[in-house]
């Protein structure tokens, strides 16, 4: 490969600026759809940085998982919940300088972090990794082991790591995803077969089923002890939210 350091540098600054700009936009933009879009920009820029770090596999995974999956789900959620597209989600009550104190704290923390990272006795001491004491990244790329990893985009290396060193976290992550899926179904499903057994008519699955749903769960009268009268869905109905 040709030595493309200048190109790398230009790309790095481009991606970095896009990433930080996008992240700031996510926080400061009034419209939540634009926030989601800017989040996509941030994710894609991070993917670009991964490419510059010789990790194209991670970059592609970043686009696939975060860039697409997460953003689409986010926008999907916005579309399902937000009636009015361009409304400040928090409302008008909050004071104008609501961002001041958290902002100051965040920037103070960031400053401290930057200062600490740049302080002189910071030392890249890796113990049993590929990098020994104070190895510069540009030198590291020329090491034979690293070159083999770069050559196939890190796919083989990541696969081997996942199924050896990080086998147990990997397997636990699958259990975690299963549990999260069960949880999502429990929290969001309209009616369970168990609840159907009460003789309720089957609620149709169309988009406007909210009103029918409210009735059915009122009659089910499912509540927690003293809170039996307080019903989540009926509460939602009175608020006029579907």
């Amino acid at each position: 490969m040709e030595n493309l350091t200048l190109l790398n540098q230009i790309s790095f600054w481009l991606f970095a600026i896009m990433m930080i700009g996008g992240a700031l936009g996510v926080v400061f933009h009034k419209s939540i759809v634009y926030s989601a879009l800017l989040l996509l920009v941030t994710f894609l820029s991070i993917a670009g940085l991964f490419v510059l770090l010789n990790a194209p596999f991670i970059a592609a995974a970043q686009i696939l998982v975060y860039g697409v999956g997460l953003t689409i789900v986010l926008i999907f959620g916005i579309m399902l919940t937000g009636d009015k597209p361009f409304v400040d989600p928090v409302g008008q009550e909050r004071p104008k300088r609501y961002w001041l104190i958290p902002g100051v704290i965040a920037f103070a923390f960031m400053g401290f972090l930057l200062w600490s990272l740049l302080s002189p006795n910071y030392n890249f001491t890796a113990v049993n990794g590929l990098f020994l004491e104070r190895v510069q990244p540009s030198i590291a790329e020329t090491l034979p082991g690293v070159q083999a990893i770069i050559a196939d985009g890190g796919v083989t290396h990541i696969g081997l790591l996942l199924f050896s060193k990080y086998l147990l976290p990997f397997e636990l992550a699958s259990v975690l995803l299963l549990l999260a899926m069960i949880g999502a179904i429990i929290l969001s499903k309209r009616q369970f077969p168990e609840e159907e057994a009460e003789g309720e008519p089957h609620v149709s699955q169309d988009l406007d089923g909210g009103a029918m749903e409210g009735k059915s769960c009122c009659s089910l009268n499912e509540g927690n002890g003293n809170l039996a009268s307080e019903n989540f869905d009926s509460e939602k109905e009175t608020l006029g939210v579907h």
Binding site: A126, L179, G183, I186, P193
Partner: protein, 516 residues
């Protein structure tokens, strides 16, 4: 035809030690499949599912005991490519988590039957959370820590919102999710900085790498400490990161509150102690931060608990206060104080679960958990009153109960550690005295006062769940037993702290130097 080397790898990686986790996962899947393939369940079938879950947990417990006895852990062992440490400390914590899960499953059955129709998924989630907690308690790798912590947390969020049509439960879930998500983000940021500083995710490697910084406190380490303390303090519900606890404990189904206050906290303490003693053993700065947290937790927990009307909220603040007491053991950080802390955790498990079991029993009978409603319970349900009173006395720290010895050992170890710590002990003792007011108030109401309207309404024929009463009796019995025979348990905790101390990077780095 097949390559058998993968099987030898399994035996090399000591996966044998993870048999309890394997059994738990298998049981989880079995209960899940039984749930899916039999969608409309009668009450009997739900009871059978509860029994299956309970048997799974008991099997896992016996597998834990079996592995412990079969291959005694004389020195700490590494398992699964050293992402897991097997040591006495891990065994103790895993045992506590499994016991907590078992008791939670037993006390939840009748309560769930009464309040919701989706019963069996609850057990699946409880078992999943315990799985996460067990792996968290014995993890030896930052990635393992994070994944296990997430397994525990995400299942907890779901469990908190389990009564999905009750607005308080939904609120609890959402609050817990938002606070917890923030906590996780901060934790992950801290861990990534650790990785940046040390270049590895393995505890031992990080320990060795950080040994280089001994004497010179690198400013990044302070940032890391702050972040990790914030995240773990959230999990421990230590003030000022305790804001979620009262709302979540009140809104969540009561068995979930019990689970969160015991199992989640035990797992969090396990990883806190492990990280503190192995990862950051050379840094005294932790003591100051933990000291502030401990004092704040004790004071806020006890003083706010005085004003509570709801039994679950009261217990929530009481758990905050107890987290404060337990943090004292970390502040001092001597092996005696940490082993006292472990002993406190053991007793806390039983007495707090017992108290929650009593509240569940009461609220299943009367549909309320206001404190005033407990008046005159002794006239209707004397044994329930007895059990609840024992647990409350133990939480206060009255002699004969386990709570007394736990507090005694802990405060003694702190006081003996040095004159600087006397102030902490004085604050803790004052707080224990304050806590007496609200704990004993409930006992006074139950025993002395005339029955309230709710208690009057309890019919004598109202059924009591055998699982619930067994669990409550078990907790009360254990509380009393630990109060009378404290020393064998105390020896066990001392041994486990010794094994933790063996894993300190100082020891390992010396070993490396000897090799060279």
């Amino acid at each position: 035809m097949f390559d058998l080397s993968s099987l030898t790898v399994m035996s090399q990686q000591n996966l044998f030690y993870l048999l309890p986790e394997g059994i738990l996962t298998l049981g989880l899947l079995v209960v899940l499949c039984l749930t899916i393939f039999n969608p409309k369940k009668t009450s009997e079938e739900n009871y059978a599912l509860m029994q299956v879950s309970l048997i799974t947990v008991l099997l896992a417990l016996s597998a834990l005991a079996w592995t412990f006895l079969r291959v005694p852990v004389i020195t700490p062992q590494k398992a699964a490519y050293s992402s897991i440490t097997i040591d006495m400390f891990g065994y103790l914590m895993r045992m506590l988590i499994l016991l907590g899960a078992g008791v939670t499953i037993a006390i939840s059955h009748r309560f769930l039957e009464k309040n919701t129709r989706i019963v069996s998924d609850f057990y699946v989630l409880i078992m999943g959370a315990s799985l996460g907690g067990m792996l968290l308690a014995s993890s030896n790798d930052l990635i393992m820590v994070f994944v296990a912590l997430e397994t525990l947390s995400i299942t907890s969020y779901i469990l908190a919102g389990y009564f999905r049509r009750t607005i308080k439960s939904a609120e609890a879930s959402l609050k817990y999710l938002i606070y917890g998500g923030m906590g996780t983000a901060v934790f992950l940021f801290g861990l990534s900085l650790v990785y940046g500083l040390a270049g590895s995710t393995n505890f031992q490697d990080i320990g060795i790498a950080l040994v280089h910084y001994h004497g010179v406190v690198h400013p990044t380490l302070i940032v890391i400490m702050l972040m990790i303390v914030a995240a773990l303090g959230f999990k421990l519900s230590a003030a000022p990161f305790h804001m979620w606890a009262p709302d979540v404990y009140e809104g969540a189904p009561t068995p979930v509150s019990a689970f969160l206050s015991v199992v989640s906290k035990t797992a969090a303490f396990a990883i806190t102690i492990r990280m503190l003693l192995i990862l950051f053993s050379g840094f005294a700065e932790w003591a100051v931060i933990w000291g502030i947290l401990a004092v704040l937790s004790m004071i806020i927990g006890n003083f706010v608990a005085l004003k509570q009307h709801n039994a679950k909220r009261l217990l929530a603040y009481s758990t905050v206060a107890h987290a404060g007491y337990m943090l004292l053991g970390l502040v001092v950080g001597t092996s005696v104080s940490v082993s006292s802390l472990l002993f406190y955790l053991v007793t806390y498990l039983f007495m707090n679960l017992g108290a929650f079991a009593a509240v569940i029993a009461f609220s299943t009978l009367t549909q309320t958990d206001e404190i005033t409603a407990f008046s005159g319970l002794v006239q209707k349900r004397p044994w329930l009153t007895f059990g609840f009173s024992i647990c409350l006395l133990s939480l206060t720290g009255i002699p004969i109960t386990a709570g007394f010895f736990a507090k005694f050992f802990l405060f003694q170890s702190v006081a003996l550690a040095g004159p600087v710590y006397i102030w902490l002990v004085i604050i803790a003792l004052l707080n224990s005295t304050i806590s007496m007011a609200y704990y004993l108030n409930i006992i006074r109401l139950m025993v002395v006062k005339e029955p309230s309207a709710e208690v009057e309404a309890i019919s004598d024929s109202a059924p009591t769940s055998s699982a619930l009463s067994t669990a409550l009796s078990f907790c009360v019995f254990a509380t009393l037993l630990l109060g009378i025979f404290a020393s064998p348990f105390y020896q066990f905790t001392t041994l486990s702290v010794q094994q933790l101390a063996q894993q300190r990077p100082m020891v390992i780095s010396q070993a490396i130097f000897q090799k060279k």
